[in-house]
Chain length 402, copies 4
């Protein structure tokens, strides 16, 4: 029933799977160990750069970019299949230079960057030499309603002066982070959806202050991490504004569609990994007279997991294909739907796996707890479930009543 993958995508799928087996899974704990033993966890394990080199040399690089000049030129539907595979490991996305928020930022550069900006920022990002962050969410307001965002971006001569208190700027802890895209108000008196703009802020500009890292359920997500970043009277050239004043929402919308496909497919990949681990563990452990795998109560959790995963994957692929064929705007309902469905499924399946693993499941001996914590944030990232449910309801009503 599914649209077939192109030979190119199918080949990448195969190679990626092999790379995961050979280079990613065996190195997950090594990277973690390096960081544990490092003086400072905000440092890049050489192993990461080494693995990136291998991936790049095998052509497993920038696969997310639909642009054929800079990236793999895959459709969302095709990349979704690859993204799922990467989602099986928290280590993987960076190795293939497909990690958020760099992916979304690179897309923004491709679409809206000047040639100079592309040269300065996009190229090193594409090469995996620097990293970037995206500063939108603010601690002082409910940022799920993006019109609440309070940061100010004020034009003064040839410059913009930025004052912003941001948090959950992912990647900002990374020592390689060199550029931020910052959202804030250029015109508080404009109509609600034209008040906000996006602007480029080189991370070494005076006034950029990385206050602290933010843990996620106890995880620091080193070495990239999530930071609270204050922008104190930061001055950048006027040309750093993206697309023009008042067009922040437009850019935000544009990056959302594909970004959600990525999040959701990675979440599904994490669920698959968890189910895989669950099945193996269940077949190895015995209690009360038989292996866990022989018990009907365990078979039920395996079955429920498989049923949920299959449905969430089909829905996500369907949304990806709709973006490809009808555009992100037409696929708005589908994109909102997967944003609800996929993280939920991922959390359910990982949680069941944790339950089968017992104490080992909540520890770091297996990637389950870390994956769970990661998936849990997906119910908040880009707006909490409630916002998306309301959107789906509204769009559905509109269609039903027309």
């Amino acid at each position: 029933m599914l649209k077939e993958l192109s030979p190119k995508a199918a080949e990448l799928q195969k190679n990626l799977t092999e790379f995961m087996e050979e280079y990613i899974y065996p190195n997950e704990s090594k990277v973690e160990q390096y960081l544990d033993e490092a003086e400072d966890r905000w440092t890049i394990p050489p192993l990461i750069e080494e693995l990136k080199g291998k991936a790049k040399s095998q052509g497993l690089w920038n696969l997310f970019l639909p642009d054929t000049e800079h990236g793999a030129g895959l459709s969302n539907y095709e990349y979704a299949h690859l993204c799922e595979i990467m989602g099986r490991s928290l280590l993987a996305p960076e190795i293939f230079n497909c990690n958020a928020p760099d992916t979304g930022n690179m897309e923004v550069f491709v679409k809206y960057g000047t040639d100079e900006q592309k040269k300065r920022w996009l190229e090193p990002l594409l090469e995996g030499k620097i990293r970037s962050c995206f500063s939108m969410t603010e601690p002082d307001v409910a940022s799920s309603d993006a019109t609440n965002i309070q940061s100010s971006i004020v034009r003064e001569g040839d410059e913009y002066v930025i004052n912003a208190k941001k948090w959950w700027s992912s990647g900002a802890m990374d020592p390689r982070c060199e550029i931020a895209i910052v959202m804030g108000k250029t015109d508080p008196d404009a109509p609600k959806h034209q008040q906000q703009s996006m602007i480029l802020v080189p991370f070494n500009t005076p006034g950029v202050e990385v206050k602290r890292y933010l843990p996620v359920f106890g995880y620091d997500h080193a070495p990239h991490g999530h930071a609270e970043v204050h922008y104190n009277n930061v001055r950048v050239p006027a040309s750093n504004i993206l697309l023009g004043e008042g067009r922040g929402f437009e850019i935000a919308q544009g990056r959302l569609g594909p970004g959600r496909i990525h999040h959701c497919m990675r979440a599904i990949g994490a669920a698959e990994r968890a189910l895989d681990l669950l099945c193996k563990r269940a077949s190895e452990r015995e209690a009360f007279g038989s292996t866990l795998a022989e018990k009907d109560v365990i078979r039920e959790v395996i079955a429920e997991s498989r049923i949920e995963i299959e449905q969430a994957r089909l829905l996500t692929l369907h949304a990806a294909h709709k973006i490809d064929t009808e555009g992100a705007k037409a696929a708005r309902k589908e994109i909102a739907m997967i944003k609800i469905a996929a993280p939920r499924v991922s959390l359910n399946v990982i949680d069941r796996a944790i339950q089968v693993f017992g104490g080992a499941g909540v520890s770091d001996d297996f990637p389950l707890a870390a994956h769970w914590a990661n998936a849990r944030t997906l119910r908040l990232v880009d707006g909490p479930d409630q916002v998306h449910l309301r959107d789906v309801g509204r769009l559905e009503l509109r269609e039903q009543l027309k």
Copy 2:
């Protein structure tokens, strides 16, 4: 992403939708009213025969049969799309001669019937002139484990003598029911899965006793109904055995795959109808200062419904396509998965609609309560959820651990 429908199937889809609007929905309550006013509810409203005539003349007839000689020659994937539409109304399947258990029985005749049997039973079934029933489940044993079935079919000379106490023989209350397919043991000493056989029993054979009808949550499902049927020393020619002694399980398996696609797609159709009704009602009713449709709590139930329906439909179409391309055996896990997922979704969505309709929802002013009761039986028909979950778990483990 989805495989496109053939022009023929797409045309049927369009025509079927129009037929539903024009002839089915407006007549639902008329059929019910006829039965309410009839002396005996086990009688056929002339309106039903009239609508069947219209459907037949428009080529909306026997669409379920993959066989091009007798039926529409559609794939499971194609018919699934049509079956969903029919499932929107409990009245519809019979009008298109696509009602269970006749569909499954006709398939059995096509596959295993002799020429004479086809002439005698298949032809009038295909013409919609007679109806049939399928007698497998027994009141005295847990029939979810089909090896429990106790009925006996004993060879005596040129005849078989059948003694069986069956129930949930759907269609057996129908005055037009002329033929039963009965499952029972021909050899209690054979290996477990070769003890059972299926045999044809003309319904007017001496000893066939329709004991009583069985209501479903208060509904009698007249005029076809579900019956307890006793077969008391019923004698039929030896040639009435289907496929041969001991092959009952083989036949049962064969009819399951497509039959489950049908059940599931109809359940999804019922869910769509419920969501449609829900949205309309929500936009018409006001409470506490706004229409229900303007309330976020109602939008959430609409959204959850849409999210669930889309996923269940994709999964079911996927299973249908797998049967088409790899066969029912290869699709075994997928078939078991939809058997769990689709009725659940249908029950959820219909229940939410009932909740929005209030008292009207549990009454017969709208088809919601009746559809709910129908969908509830799907969690039991062909084995309860627990049996299918166990199967999915087992098959998943087998794949994961190979």
Copy 3:
């Protein structure tokens, strides 16, 4: 931990349990059979009157009335224990003259009736000689918001003229129904909560028109039933107004508290009956090599049921006790909470039992399907869940933020 029952209540509990075993359970199917065979299902089986006589003679009569003059003088906490027992059978409440809406109506008469009204209506109700109905809900508006109610009650000289289109007037189909309490607007210009009044309408007054009965999931709930009743220019003496014009909401509030305890405890009783039946069935049926009771998946559903029932019962008893000690107003949050919790649990447990019973569960061979349908209406009666959840949320916020 629980407050002990008084010896009187404990004695009633014991006697009631014995009465159920001896007279109620064995007669459930007999009553149903009588109705099935009757020419008209809206007729009173003599067995019902006979059982009522037995119950009355054993002092198991009017137990719901806290008033010691007319009733048993039990607290809500005490009666709750008895009400649970009655809830185990749909036949039981009437036998003990504890059936809704007569119970609520009798309470209204006790509190607000004139001596003459008490003599004319309360006395025969207390004796179980007549029945009554309560006409509040209307088909044309979302009655969950009671301010929507449109019926008019207009004073003309010494009379009120009533024009009302009501439905879900339970008991109105009963041939013994002689009196209705009707809610409607006496002053459409008054403040919102003072527009409505309640008035007594003898059922034989000209203009009272019982249009039709309303089924609940296919059940007619004969012989009492639920009706659509139209009041067409019905004239009654001005003295029939209850408590005074504009006090309809006040009376409605007053009857709600205890009434919800009754509904919820009966729902819990129904759940207990279902769990009881489930356990017995599971121990008698075999599938796939063992009895169902020996399977862990079945033990899990039994365990979940027990866990849910215990919690819902404790919460309901707690609410009842709070009404007793602090009054219905103080217990408002608790009353709303049980209205959510108890029907849910009841539906869950009965549904699980149906699943274990298979086909037998949805039929009328066991009381499961009928109990389920009844419990389903409880999520709508006196306002849908959504209304109560909103109330609980609001009250909780008020307490948390004070």
Copy 4:
């Protein structure tokens, strides 16, 4: 309805609540900050000892011990009320010397310790001078089935030689940990439930090796932590055996009942804290035109939380009272029931609060994520849910079928 608290318990309840407000909540982040800045997180912040001193001087000390000689002499029902309060903060239990596993270990010493053992270990534990751990679970087997435990305890002359590989020995990372209770097999050939024994192992005995700490969803739970501990040919005097050889299960059973009440009431306290935080946050944050607290979708999550909490608390108090009045054995089903119900509710409520807090909810700015991680382990500690559900099902069936 609830049994009233004794004046003594009520007084403690009041004082404890005040102590929490004054000393616990304001110091949570200070303790965390101390550890963050410490060179080694496995160190005791002086603030902790200071707060312990305050608690002790106010008589808020060893409240868990039913024994009046050593502890507060409260019933399980009474202490449950206090334990809930302590559960509101992860910092609290230790401050009141009521932290697991010390509580369970102290109870074991009170019941089974010799005078000398009491003097040596119980007294300093009661004074809060040392800490202890409990080594039962093993990484290499499914320890949910305790008969799987493989460690060996072999008698050699006047000594026992212990070889054991244990993990999840909570408290073992604490620099003050001086004594372990270790479970292992003294007789592999005895009947299954008499093979295991418990023995005291001073933590400074040669061969005791603390291998590593085990994180819980990224949290290290410093300074006490959970450790993998290997016991390599550890020799202790024969008198260190508790109660006698083969009586390990008996002791394990004894400590379970009250321990589960504690776990569950703390989980409920954590839920109350979360709901409290949720309500405050919802009233402070605005999105899409109103505060979150004004939105019905938020009121629903508040309502669901309150409904769940009330029920779980009543059930847990009921179980506590049953232990008090009928003993832990008679309360076995109730104890298993709360082990299922309370952690679930706690996880639900905390998760909803996290969702309302958005990014702040998963970070350490609020105690939500840490409480969630802690509550998640409760579904595993002392056996996973599946084991308890099976027990409840089995016990229920036994009662229903007798």
